[in-house]
Symmetry: C2
């Protein structure tokens, strides 16, 4: 150990036994008259015993109904692990660990959208009926639209998507020039859809988070290029999440337009039927092909194989459908008003979260795309009163050191302080929650050359590392 490191180690030990790691009253259930120390600010330790991750929520009066709905793995695992809790049908509380994961997913999406020039805004959920009548979707959407009246009896819907709203916004800018196009505007907000049969937890809800992007271009050719660049961004996104995703030709539904693709994660539970060609890259939603077709319309040689998929993204080339109705124009290079070519592009944010868990997890244990796991590391100190009790100090020091030596793991390391439980039971819990790295501090930590046991969830591998080896391993963990 280098002198400098040694000093850090000492200092962290000092802090650990000081009063302000957690404000003192948080360290036991008894409230004490300890003033909240103003400075120096020490980041509170993350203790499993204090995390609101209630894994056994009772369901007053809903047991039977929900039991029937608990029809897929991700829903079951997410409720068991205290990630989500059902509220109304199709509506969920997102509990703290799920919020952490979702915020990370949103960061990754933001990065990919910025990369292609996307700019983030935020549009009202309350959408005026007038706009939806102008696009004729007020009637077309039927019962899927949540509708309400305000105190003046004016009609509104809760936006399930925002073509009308964003096109109106862009139309209001009288000075939009061709030089400012392509314009890519997106938001990541809560959306509402009164599903006839909400089910599968976050996979088909009535209230959910969606990323919706809208593009405005000078020409059909330019719009096609934008369409391509969004599809590429989606592919990069799923690659970064280590999710195998298939881009298939899709139906345009009531959004309108002439070109559409779905991004599907192949999964047994999927509600979509896909047809994939064995010989070429052709893939399509079965809806788009005539029923019973088995030969590939692209290469004419391959035969189509059926698969099920969970739709996690959808892209549409809209043409001038909305820009014509709402008069979204720009001044062309010839200084004449021209109508913008549009596209729209959705990603189901909460759905990606659940779908990732659906396809990556075992029946009993959650597995995450590493980048968006709620926490990266869980450290398990030995059971209190056990033979290796002394290693507890080592575990606490380790948590502190990790926070200092690996800056991007700050806030990512959890200490399972429930030391009245055996290591085995806590390890089982940690495996269930799927922390990418579980560190067991036991017997080998007390040896002359202390070793740390590390369980790598992604590979299932268990390693015994020196502290330097551990820092090296964790220093390479990718975070967002």
């Amino acid at each position: 150990m280098e002198p400098a490191t040694h000093q850090t180690w000492r200092r962290s030990f000092y802090y650990l036994h000081g009063a302000f790691i957690l404000p003192k009253r948080f360290q036991s259930g008894q409230a004490e008259h300890a003033a909240v120390s103003a400075s120096p600010r020490v980041r509170p330790r993350l203790l499993v015993s204090r995390l609101y991750q209630p894994s056994n929520l009772r369901d007053v009066g809903q047991e039977s109904r929900l039991a029937g709905q608990m029809t897929c793995k991700s829903q079951r695992l997410m409720q068991q692990a205290g990630l989500i809790h059902p509220s109304n049908p199709g509506c969920y509380y997102y509990l703290p660990a799920a919020v952490r994961s979702m915020e990370k997913l949103i960061k990754v999406i933001d990065q990919e959208m910025h990369e292609i020039g996307g700019q983030k805004l935020d549009m009202p959920s309350l959408c005026s009926a007038d706009l939806w009548k102008a696009s004729e979707r007020w009637d077309l959407m039927g019962k899927e639209l949540f509708r309400l009246k305000d105190r003046h009896r004016a009609d509104y819907c809760l936006g399930p998507t925002h073509e009308e709203a964003v096109t109106t916004l862009v139309a209001h800018q009288t000075t939009l020039s061709y030089k400012q196009l392509p314009l890519l505007l997106y938001q990541i907000t809560r959306k509402f859809r009164d599903e006839p049969k909400p089910r599968f937890g976050l996979l088909r809800g009535r209230e959910f988070y969606m990323k919706d992007m809208y593009s405005f271009d000078v020409s059909e050719e330019a719009a096609n290029q934008t369409y391509e660049s969004v599809c590429e961004a989606y592919s990069r996104l799923f690659a970064r999440l280590s999710l195998r995703c298939v881009q298939v030709q899709a139906d345009t539904g009531n959004i309108g337009g002439t070109l559409s693709h779905e991004f599907q994660l192949p999964a047994d539970i999927g509600e979509d039927h896909l047809l994939l060609c064995g010989s070429c890259s052709f893939s399509a939603n079965a809806e788009t092909l005539s029923s019973g077709r088995t030969d590939c319309p692209q290469c004419n040689t391959g035969s189509l194989v059926e698969s099920k998929g969970i739709e996690v993204g959808h892209t549409f080339y809209l043409g001038k459908k909305y820009s014509h109705i709402f008069k979204a124009t720009f001044s062309s290079a010839q200084n004449k008003p021209a109508t913008a070519e549009m596209g729209c592009y959705g990603l189901g944010v909460t759905r990606i979260l659940a779908a990732a868990i659906e396809v990556m997890s075992t029946e009993e244990e959650i597995r995450w795309p590493g980048l968006i796991a709620p926490y990266q590391v869980c450290v398990l100190p030995p059971k209190k009163g056990s033979r290796v009790d002394k290693a507890a100090v080592f575990a606490e020091e380790l948590v502190q050191t990790l926070g200092e030596a690996v800056p991007h793991l700050r806030g990512e390391v959890v200490l399972d302080d429930r030391t009245h439980m055996t290591i085995g039971k806590r390890l089982k819990d940690a495996n269930k929650l799927g922390y990418p790295y579980v560190i067991v501090v036991g017997q080998v930590a007390l040896e002359e050359n202390p070793k740390i046991e590390v369980v790598c969830q992604q590979t299932g591998e268990t390693m015994f590392l020196s502290k330097d080896g551990l820092l090296d391993l964790l220093g390479r963990v990718e975070t967002v």
Copy 2:
């Protein structure tokens, strides 16, 4: 210039003239067939000409109505600068610069809430009427509640606040132990309130972002301590934003409970009337005192001075009002079920944004709390074809260097590339938008010892710095 720095400078120059700073087609209005380069990934430059900050949105059919509503400075400045755009009454589009500012504000709030042990969750907007009937607020809230029915004719409201929802959630955890208390749960989500007279832009809207936290404690004494610690966190928050905030005694309204404070920013436009004692720390909302009272009820010697304020935060000690109704219990140290003591604590997120602009700006120019300005730095290269045209390269290099040499300013530096406009006109724009630091690259940048002109918005000071001096200055800028 050090050799290493020099090399960086060279490299950035190379990148600047490469094709992939912005995907090429984004550099002009004409779409070109340039494939989006996959790697190496270079962060796109931020160009003023490309930012969606439409400062002159037309209001089809709403001009007259909106003109009448444009009753305060923050609304006018925010609309003029392209930060917000009106949608339905009391509902706004938050445009990209406003979203950036809001996301920063949310980060600061998150930090302060985590500091006192707060855990973030996210509850449904659709709240079942059953819950609101149980608390009797279904009737009590009257027309302020947005109400709707789903396809099965079940009644819902759009949550303006979530005491019912969060208490139900906590009640569902059958194993909650006194050891887990205090439990502080909060969310930062969109809230809905059907205001009779929405006005003042984001200061009184019908759809807005709020941070609402709910606390659960073992005893009244412990709940009071939690209450104190939240109030202290609020004070720290406003101090970090350089906003003068007064904590005043308040009425508990229909939330219920026995103790309540408001956090008020003194401002002429404020809708609340405050009474502050000249001699002691006493301050209260005038509503809570008998009308016409001028002597201080706390020190009995001072006299009360009236002030107006914008309410940006509100804290309530709720006691057992909701925990009793919804049976939110925990097992005590004696292993007996006991009802939790609750508090609730709001912060108006979008309101803080507008209120900060209201109290800090001049009539014509926006000023931000530095920490949450949408961008920290704007660089102005010289006018094209002007005498000092050559300095343009220097400006572009500067933007690149800042991104590399000052990591926490990554994504915070904007280049005003509208070089067909004079420096003077662009400087005026930059002052209006209130970038904390505006850098003018002109004549002095071409001298033998190049100097950079820096306008510091907070102080109004103009400085001429060497590049090292500038890096030193900007290296000390606090960001979140």
